[in-house]
Structure formats: C-alpha cells, structure tokens
Symmetry: C2
Subunit: 368 residues, 2 copies
C-alpha cells in the first residue's frame, strides 16, 4: 500500500524519494510524504500529488487486470538489471535513477524474464525491409531463449514483440503509461498476448497518460532491462536514439542495423553508426557477439579465414573441414608448388589457422 | 626510351629498381640492368625480361593510341600523390612502392587530373541500388570539380566513371594491364571516352595481361591517386577491401556506403564499417567532410541542432533562420514559460547555438 501510494505520488523516476525509502523504509517514507515531514527538495516534488492516495483502488484495479506491483522488496525485482540506473547522476538528468517500483502484468517473474534479454527498438514508420530484418533477428534470438524487450509502439517495436510471440519466445513490453490504458490502443490485443506469456511493465500508476517525457523515461527502462539495445530503422529524430543513449550510459552495447542510404527510415541508424554511438550489426550472430553472456560467439556467415589472402587463402580453402591432408595433396588441390604450400601452411600455423600431427595438416577449431 | 625499357623489365612495382634509378639516374640504371651490372637482388628480379627491349615499339604503339609514358621527370608526374607509396615498407608487401613510370592516355596532365579526386570502387556484381547510389554520389562530386578515379571494372567501377562522364566531369581509369588491351573488353568504348576527356592510366607496358596480382597492385594506384576511397557495395571477398587497405596505409580516408543487410552486395561494406576499416557515409556531403580539402563541410541534411533535446530543442526550433526574437515571443512559440525559455536560451548560448544582442536572440552561423 505504501509503495503504491508513493508510486503515484512520484509518478516516474525520483532519486530523492528512492533515497528516502532506502534510508528510512517505505512505511516511514510514506508517512513523511503524507505529513510533509520532508526536506525542501522533496517537499516541492511531492506537493502536487501528496494528497492523492488511491493505493487501494490502484492495487485492486491492477489485480483485476491480473497484474501486481513489484517492489525492490520482492524476489522478482530485477535488482541487478536496475543496478546501473542507481549509479548514474540524477543531477544531470532527473530520470537517471531507478524506478521506485514497477507495475507488472505477466506470467513470468520479471527478474527471470529479463535474465537474458535484448531490447529491439526503432522507427514507428518502419519499412517492409525493417520489419523483415526485425522479424529475422528478434525471431532468431527469441527462439534461442532471449527475451525481446521493447516499447510496444507501432513499427519496429510491435514487430519485435510479435516476432518473439511467433516463436513462443518471451517478450517484455515497457509502457510509458498506466497498464490499464494500453498504448497505442491498436496494440491492445498484442499487449494482452504479451501479458499472457511474457510481461507488460510500467513504472506509472494506473491511469497515468502517455506523455512525451514519459516515453523518454520509459526508454531508460527498456535499455536497463536488457543486455543490449538493437535499433532497426530509425529516422533522424527517432526516440530510438534516446534508448541508445541510455544503453551507453549503462554500459550496455548499442547496435544498429544499416539499410539503404536512400531510405529515411535508416538515416538515424546510419548516423548512430557513423558517429560511433552504435555498432553496425547485420545478423543475430553479431548481436550475440556483442551482448551475449560471456560474449560467446555463434557460428556466423563469415569466418576468420575470410581475412586470409594469397597462397594462405588457397591452402586454407582446400583443407577439409574435418580430417587432415598431406602437403603434396594440398599443393595439388591449391594449384601451388609443394614448397609454396609448405610455406603457406607454416604461416597459417603461426597465426593459428591450422595445425599438424602425424596424419597431416588440419584446420584448427578456433578458425571455424 | 630507358624508362620504357625499364617499365617493361620491371613489369609492375619494384622498389629496388626505383631505388637504383633515383641513385644513378635512369640511363645508367638501364645500362646496368642490360649488362647485369647489378646487386644480386635486382639481378634475379630483372633476369627474366632483361633481354626484352621493345621500348621503341612500345612508345610508338602508345603514340598511335594517343598515349605517352609519364615519368618522374615529367611535370605532369603526380609526385605528391605518389609520395606516400614511396614511404611504405616494401619488405612487407613488394607492391608497397611507387610506380616506376605510368603509361597514360588522356587529354589532361595527370597531376592536374588528380588534384582533387575521389576513388569510387565496388562490386562487379552491383545491384540497382548500388548503381543508383554510385551515380548520385560520383555524379554530384564530379559536378563539383572532383575527379572520379576507378578501375574500369563492371559494376560499381564502370558506374562511377559513367556518372562523371555524364556530368562532363573528370574521370581517371587505372588499368591492371597494358593500355593497348582495354579490360574488360566490353568497356572498350567507355575507356575511349575516358581517354578523350580524362585519363586512362597503367603502370604496365603495352601487351601486359590483366592477371590477378596486377589487380592488387593496381588497387594501390587507385588509392594513391585520390584523396579518399569510397566503396559502394562490396561482397565479402571483394577487391574493394584491398583498395581500402591501401588507402589506410596511405593515410587516406576510407569510406563505405551501407545497404540492406539482406543484400550480399553490401556485406563487405558492412564488415568494413563494423570493423572500423571504413567510415559509413550516406551522401556526397559526408564524403567531402572526410576527404575534402581543408575538410570544409558542405551543407548536409542534418545540422548540429539535431543534437538538442528538451526545452533547448523547442526554443532553438522557433528561432528564425535569419533575424532575432525576444524571449517572450520565443516562449509563446515554444509553448514554454518565459523563465524556462530564458534558461534554455542561456544554455544554448553557452554551447554556442545562439547569441543575443539589442535586437534579441538569434541563431549563430556555426550551428547552421
């Protein structure tokens, strides 16, 4: 009840209120807010909504929606995900702090749902190309056990959620408004499906409207709840850039998919790549390389051997994927003299591409 | 005659022969080569073709084609362009040295033709998209006085040359074979047109065939003769990457145009951007930013003000392009309170976006 009351009073991120709660406890913090027993800074910040106590009604409403208020006391609180937000400087941006609590509708405990997660965001005015790439990458990762986090907007966001739903993967939608007013309204049904299998999350109490500054605040949660942020299509003024900014603040990898330079929908991605704000990625494997646990690599379309050229490339190319060959056989296949082949093999061994034993020369595992 | 003789003997880059010429002069170098009066390294390098002296025939043939042999003694020798090649380490790559001399067909002195130049290279198997972007960027730059340097290959190369020809701009084709055997043969007519208005260049004597290693050697001249290298479409195994490698060796900017990640023809560009080998560019203005003289910027689609957000963005947006406004007017247009507007203006002034005088607040020129 105290959390629900404070969640509505704060209406969004409040570093001062979070501080107070962690110092004196939530019950005492609620009492202090109610009775104006506060330092001046908090007094003015809470003055407007201090009198509004509809905690009971809010909790009941949420329960009817099948939701709950998840607080830092709960086992499902995604504490380590949100840790980074608590270490930012709210002096520079008032939103640079963790949420007080989170209103959640969903079948899976939030901490579990966001254990391995990728945020996929982008243009509302997406193109067929952007939707295709989103479906490919989000679908592949969701199928591999990644949760897809996004903002439920039209365009890339919705496409990312749907790609996860389509492969029966987990997806988390973070809203910029109360959970009782799904936004955008046309995504009502999609949000219901997400709530059934994944999670719909907001730091705003029921009834709170989706205003512009709340989208910016919401973006920080999208970035915080994931291992990395992927932007697929973004115009020059896209909100995706703001999500990328939060990812960078939080030390999470920010990635962007390029597209035709003739498409305005990719101009924001190109700018972020060009200015070093996001790394160019083309496929799911590259996302895993950046954001994956232990940064373990998945097999990619390219291999380390693509960097070879000249006789080394020719020699490497004719070595079998499995098993080994004698230099004379390699020489014949590669169309090189035996001495040239031996030299190339020696060079490849030095750089770790090949090895040799009694059976001959073979490709090493590392070079794939 | 001595240059022509040595050009055929060397058949491509030879740091040792260039050294010898610069030490003893071209006549003495030719005599020494003819009479095997050489250090061991040069002896073996020149052994094979030392006996072939068809300098007179080569020069006559070239004259009949309307061409000439341009040597380091000639005023049109692009000395400062080739300077960088002379400072590389030929021990690591035998091609890492300047050309001995250049066979040239063309109306414009080579040094003049390459004074302000962009190399545009890319996939032979280009797509409609790649050809469109090549035509746009090469055409715009050629129209602004840039020479377009390329390799006359099918696909992007040919498209770049044609874009320059179409706007009556200058273009230089660098071949990997003798100028008497235009390659590819289907570009014979295009090469004739280039020779009429621009320049067709090769370091190989007449009759020399376009073999694989000569394309790699040729690529270094493409990079050396330009202020930067732009790759438009390249597969993962494209030769364009080799040209980019030379540009980087020479300290010239390397740029690549992104495209759909679903297109194999852009995969090489994406890899080069991803791995930091090339900078992502979307338009001619960005090429000028990177490769242009004094790196002067052309007006671009975006502006510094795109980096603003919140009240500062709102305030900046309502300031007129020309002229100034009072804070109260700005506040009204921006939908902010006057104090909030004053604060935003002060912030914008600190970062240089706006200034103020007796007439009010105005956008500064620098922020465009």
């Amino acid at each position: 009840m105290a959390w629900a009351y404070l969640s509505r009073v704060a209406e969004g991120p409040s570093a001062a209120l979070s501080d107070l709660i962690s110092r004196v406890g939530v019950l005492e913090a609620a009492r202090a807010v109610r009775q104006c027993d506060l330092p001046a800074s908090l007094l003015s910040a809470t003055a407007q909504r201090r009198g509004t106590d509809c905690a009971e009604r809010d909790l009941e409403l949420m329960a009817r929606l099948g939701g709950r208020l998840v607080t830092p006391d709960d086992p499902e609180w995604p504490a380590w995900r949100l840790l980074g937000l608590g270490q930012l400087d709210p002096g520079r941006d008032p939103a640079a702090t963790g949420p007080l609590a989170l209103w959640v509708r969903g079948a899976v405990p939030l901490a579990d749902a966001t254990e391995l997660a990728l945020a996929v965001v982008g243009a509302r005015c997406s193109s067929g190309y952007g939707e295709h790439v989103t479906a490919e990458i989000a679908g592949e990762l969701a199928g591999r056990g990644w949760t897809i986090v996004s903002g439920a907007a039209f365009g890339i966001d919705g496409c990312a959620h749907r790609a996860a739903l389509a492969v029966e993967g987990l997806t988390v939608a973070v809203l910029a408004c109360g959970l009782d007013r799904p936004y955008p309204a046309a995504h009502h049904r999609m949000l219901e499906r997400i709530a059934e299998t994944g999670s719909v999350v907001s730091e705003y109490a029921p009834g709170v409207a989706p205003l512009k500054h709340r989208f910016l605040e919401r973006n920080r949660l999208v970035a915080a709840l994931a291992d990395g942020v992927l932007v697929v299509e973004a115009g020059l003024r896209s909100g995706a850039r703001n999500t990328v900014k939060w990812a960078r603040c939080l030390g999470r990898p920010a990635m962007a998919v390029p597209g035709p330079v003739t498409a305005a929908a990719s101009a924001g991605c190109h700018r972020m790549i060009r200015e070093g704000e996001a790394l160019l990625v083309s496929e799911a494997a590259q996302v895993v390389d950046e954001a994956g646990p232990l940064r373990l690599s998945m097999p990619t379309g390219t291999s380390a051997a693509d960097h070879l050229d000249g006789p080394q490339a020719a020699v490497y190319a004719v070595l079998p994927q499995v098993g080994s060959r004698q230099p004379a056989e390699v020489a014949e296949s590669a169309g090189l003299s035996v001495p040239a082949t031996r030299a190339a093999l020696a060079g490849l061994e030095l750089t770790g591409y090949v090895g040799s034993d009694h059976s001959g020369w073979y490709r090493t595992a590392q070079a794939g």
